[in-house]
């Protein structure tokens, strides 16, 4: 999709940014047990009224176990010519292991799903030894249109002509860290290039063993359309959208994705301009003009490129108040001061609840004064986050624990193998203490919620298990 097309579809009125509100849901099974996609559909159906039918979507992780080592690319295409253009582009850097239309049901009468584009998926192996030909081209694309069309020097493509050869496989449960940084950067560039330079092509997601399914319609109808009940994943997120200033288009729905990051988000970031300008200095250009994009880039910068822990990232994105910080013991106070000083422009200000996911990890975070709804719950190995408890109860009536996280307090769910942190079984005395710990201790801390989440319990309702996967 060219930049003009993107602009036109995403922000037809040229507002500062797209404004929307919505309902959110996320679940992770810490043991890695895969849950049928129906769980996300049913949860989102119960949040129907938080959207207006102009966008719904899901992200599933661990859904392609047979293809786990291939990069799964989900795209929307305007027509067959767009597909030809894309495939030509893909063949230059990748070996296409499998190309097919994303399976879907015909749009039923009365369904809210509107005018689906061509939806394809590709499973790709990076061709070893092939270096990015026109690496700069991507960079230039990034620069265009920024800030009233100024300055091609913004391009981040410079010096990014890395080979695609280094990404050879990886564990089934991949994490962002599994990509080597150069490869990850190339992949980001590649996706940005496609999204901005190829007419009629828009990438939904591009990472191993995960995929984004989204479109125009109520989320439950979109899930039905994409046959999510045919998939099983250890982690799902869902989103129902209520946009106020954008025409409905399939690419504009959530989740937003970058590498294996996906973001679903309810809120309006009043600090958008400050965040965007800061991220531009690190080579991220917010072409979609959405808060969600800014959050994804901020997460990528902090956690992938700058290697901050989830807690530290949360302390940046939803920083504790200075009043709170000033009361902490010296070390903690100093660390928080450093984080707030260095990353001041990344503070997300304004009302939001966001679910950020990447392979093996689910992070829920609300703004620091809690202006948007956010509920977390645990049942056995499963951690849930959602806009409303109703979305969780409908799929898991028997919950071990339900709580409303404090503003700025991250709720983190992690696959067992991945969790180095966490104090299983120990319930932190209070969220405030946990937040203080998050800044004082280093290896032994995680958010209160992770701590409060018992290590081993009998599974909850069995109905969402892998064995239920149809066909």
């Amino acid at each position: 999709m060219t930049l003009d097309e993107l602009r036109q579809r995403q922000n037809p009125y040229g507002d500062d940014k797209a404004i929307d509100a919505c309902g959110l849901f996320g679940v992770i099974d810490r043991s890695g047990r895969r849950l049928n996609g129906q769980i996300a559909i049913e949860a989102m159906a119960n949040l129907h009224d938080r959207g207006n039918g102009l966008g719904g979507g899901f992200a599933g992780y661990g859904i392609y176990p047979e293809m786990a080592d291939a990069i799964a690319l989900h795209v929307m295409l305007d027509d067959q010519a767009s597909r030809a253009r894309l495939e030509e582009e893909l063949q230059q850097d990748f070996h296409i292991r499998l190309a097919e239309e994303i399976p879907h049901r015909p749009v039923a009468a009365g369904s809210s799903v509107q005018a689906p584009p061509l939806l394809w998926r590709y499973f790709l192996d990076p061709q070893p030894g092939i270096s990015r030909r026109p690496g700069q081209r991507v960079g230039q694309g990034l620069g265009q249109g920024y800030d009233q069309g100024r300055g091609p020097e913004h391009g981040s493509g410079e010096g990014r002509g890395h080979g695609f050869g280094s990404g050879d496989g990886g564990p089934v449960v991949g994490a962002s860290a599994e990509y080597d940084p150069e490869f990850a950067d190339s992949l980001v560039d590649f996706v940005m290039h496609i999204n901005r330079d190829l007419p009629g092509v828009y990438v939904f997601s591009c990472a191993r063993n995960m995929g984004v399914f989204k479109g125009v319609g109520y989320p439950e109808d979109i899930g039905e359309f994409f046959r999510l009940d045919d998939y099983a994943g250890y982690m799902w997120t869902g989103h129902g959208r209520f946009p106020t200033n954008t025409h409905a288009w399939w690419g504009g729905a959530h989740p937003f994705s970058l590498l294996d990051w996906t973001v679903v988000h309810n809120g309006e970031i009043s600090s958008y301009g400050t965040n965007r300008r800061f991220l531009e200095m690190y080579g991220y250009y917010c072409t979609l003009q959405t808060d969600t994009e800014v959050i994804a880039y901020a997460a990528d910068l902090l956690m992938r490129r700058h290697h901050l822990s989830v807690n530290e990232a949360a302390l940046v994105l939803a920083a504790p108040m200075w009043k709170e910080i000033d009361r902490l013991p010296a070390t903690a106070r100093q660390r928080l001061t450093v984080l707030r000083r260095v990353y001041a422009p990344l503070l997300l200000n304004g009302p939001f609840t966001v679910i950020i996911a990447r392979s093996g990890e689910l992070i829920g975070l609300g703004d620091r004064v809690r202006l948007r709804p956010f509920v977390a719950a645990s049942a056995g190995d499963r951690l849930y986050v959602a806009s409303e408890e109703a979305a969780i109860r409908v799929v898991e009536p028997q919950l071990d624990q339900v709580w409303i996280p404090r503003g700025g307090e991250p709720v983190v769910g992690r696959l067992d193998g991945l969790a180095q942190a966490g104090v299983p079984g120990a319930v932190a005395a209070s969220a405030a203490v946990a937040r203080a710990q998050a800044t004082t201790a280093t290896t032994t801390t995680t958010a209160a919620c992770a701590a409060a989440w018992p290590a081993a319990r009998p599974s909850g309702r069995a109905g969402w298990g892998e064995q239920e996967v149809a066909g």
Partner: protein, 535 residues
């Protein structure tokens, strides 16, 4: 040619020339109210009021009146009214009265016309053409009376990332899981950060030197800075010993005259500022006449009593950008890299490129003073015709530093005619980290912008050289007014922030989305990086 005389010789022969100017102000005394108490006589430092013994009546020699309103404010019965003289020349759009007056004055004196305070010409004030945003429906506004609202601001360089070395080593360990959890405790250490000032409000007091302002005025400014958790700048006139107790809230200046600069001066301060230029008189130096250099001023400036204190136009060790880098690092060495070093420049045409050079030269803070910045004394022709408005300079500098990806390396402080909290918050949205106020602080202490600061006769005791006049300013009371001003502005800033749904000032910094222009040309909106209202 042989008959040509110099101005001095002519004066010797003919005596002073008769002024062809009418009084600027009329001093009107209501006879029904006046009780002949003579307060006006003692209050007027320009010798307007006098007691006519023969008539047993207070009278006024109004041609001397500068319109400072001291007498009118202090008259116990409110008998005095100071008005501009309505007497008019034939209207002429080209030869406006101000030009006529300056011509006549120069014809009498042969000198450069001096003035005080900032540019008073009707150049466009961009603050008046920018409107702020507020939240409605799609996001909630925040009530500062109920919710915390943070104005805390840091001035100093910021690294682009928190301790990359520790992160790299964690990566190299090749953990199969996320490399992020097991980072060593050293990862985030406060010592790794360059030194910075911490402000509780984004408002600081501008450089105003002892000598240009009275001891009492400087004391009041320092006291207020301390009470408000912010900073005041000594200006270039040294730092009187008795005022060193405010060291945690004092920024010292190193200007071309190097007055009062020694190791203690640098090391006792919170920040060191190299003064290259000043908005009221870019490109020219300063001159404190010997008569004003009395013992305490001489001691503070470290020059002999009675000698002229001359600040050269350029620093004579800075003839290019690399020389500036040398001075920056000399000062950092002298202060053991424990203090941020700022560089103050006037807003001139190439200010964006200049600022970028200053950032690369190693400064931690760049202060930019716009064309409306005040002064104790400047040639009027310079004050009114040199420099550019701070709004445009700020927008251009902030953009350039971002484009060059070095915005994190420096903080931006802007100065030059900030009249209200709205000007301040708009500056923050344009990309400033903090502002300096000078004139506004003066007005709070009593100043009425009579522009006679250079005479040393300030009737309000602010820029007075005469100790008797200077004593008119009670430092504690003046400080109270300043503290009230800063609190009032801070409260207003919080209200406006809350209205935008923002609860930390840092989230408005450079957030031009929250500004809209009215009545500006497209090129102006392009420079400011803002859209028009309704766009």
């Amino acid at each position: 040619m042989g008959q040509a005389r110099t101005h001095i010789e002519a004066q010797a022969v003919f005596g002073p020339l008769k002024p062809y100017l009418e009084p600027e102000f009329l001093v009107e005394r209501d006879p029904d109210r006046c009780i002949q108490c003579g307060v006006c006589i003692s209050q007027c430092s320009f010798g307007v009021h006098w007691f006519d013994v023969r008539r047993s009546q207070v009278r006024a020699e109004q041609e001397r009146c500068v319109g400072c309103h001291r007498c009118a404010v202090f008259c116990p019965t409110g008998a005095l009214t100071i008005r501009r003289n309505p007497s008019e020349y034939r209207p002429n759009a080209n030869w406006r009265p101000e030009f006529v007056a300056d011509l006549k004055r120069q014809a009498e004196t042969g000198g450069v016309v001096l003035t005080g305070m900032g540019n008073d010409k009707p150049f466009r004030v961009y603050w008046d053409h920018l409107l702020l945003n507020a939240s409605q429906v799609t996001n909630p506004s925040i009530d500062p009376l109920r919710e915390p609202m943070e104005l805390r601001t840091f001035l100093g360089a910021r690294p682009d990332q928190v301790n990359p070395s520790a992160s790299t080593s964690a990566l190299a360990d090749g953990a199969t899981s996320h490399p992020v959890e097991g980072l060593p405790a050293a990862m985030v250490s406060v010592e790794d950060l360059p030194p910075a000032l911490q402000l509780e409000t984004p408002i600081m007091f501008s450089a105003m030197s002892y000598g240009a302002i009275s001891f009492q005025a400087q004391l009041a400014l320092f006291e207020a800075a301390q009470a408000c958790g912010t900073y005041a700048n000594t200006g270039e006139g040294g730092w009187p010993r008795p005022l060193r107790r405010f060291h945690d809230h004092v920024i010292v200046q190193v200007a071309s005259g190097r007055f009062g600069v020694d190791a203690d001066y640098l090391n006792e301060a919170a920040m060191v500022e190299i003064k290259i230029g000043q908005g009221a008189k870019p490109g020219i130096g300063g001159h404190l006449p010997g008569e004003k250099v009395k013992a305490p001023i001489a001691r503070t400036r470290m020059i002999p009593e009675g000698t002229d204190a001359l600040s050269p136009a350029p620093h004579h060790d800075i003839y290019s950008i690399e020389d500036l880098a040398l001075l920056i690092y000399a000062l950092k060495e002298a202060t053991h890299y424990e203090k941020p070093v700022a560089v103050k420049v006037a807003a001139v045409h190439n200010v964006a490129a200049i600022a970028s050079g200053i950032a690369r030269a190693g400064a931690d803070v760049i202060a930019i003073d716009g064309v409306r910045g005040g002064t104790g004394a400047a040639p009027k022709i310079i004050r009114d015709n040199v420099g550019i408005p701070i709004e445009l300079a700020l927008a251009a500098v902030d953009r350039r530093l971002r484009e060059e990806k070095i915005r994190n390396r420096v903080s931006l402080v802007v100065a030059g005619g900030f009249r209200s909290s709205a000007d301040v918050i708009k500056a923050i949205a344009l990309g400033a980290d903090a502002v300096y106020i000078g004139t506004a602080a003066f007005v709070a202490m009593g100043c009425t912008l009579c522009q006679k600061c250079y005479t040393g006769k300030c009737a309000w005791g602010i820029t007075a050289a005469d100790p008797a006049l200077a004593r008119r300013l009670n430092p504690d009371l003046a400080a109270e007014r300043l503290i009230n001003l800063v609190h009032a502005w801070s409260a207003e800033i919080k209200e406006m922030l809350g209205g935008m749904g923002i609860n930390a000032l840092e989230s408005l910094r450079g957030n031009r989305d929250h500004l809209r222009a009215v009545g500006l040309e497209q090129w102006e909106m392009d420079v400011l990086g803002v859209k028009g209202a309704g766009q």
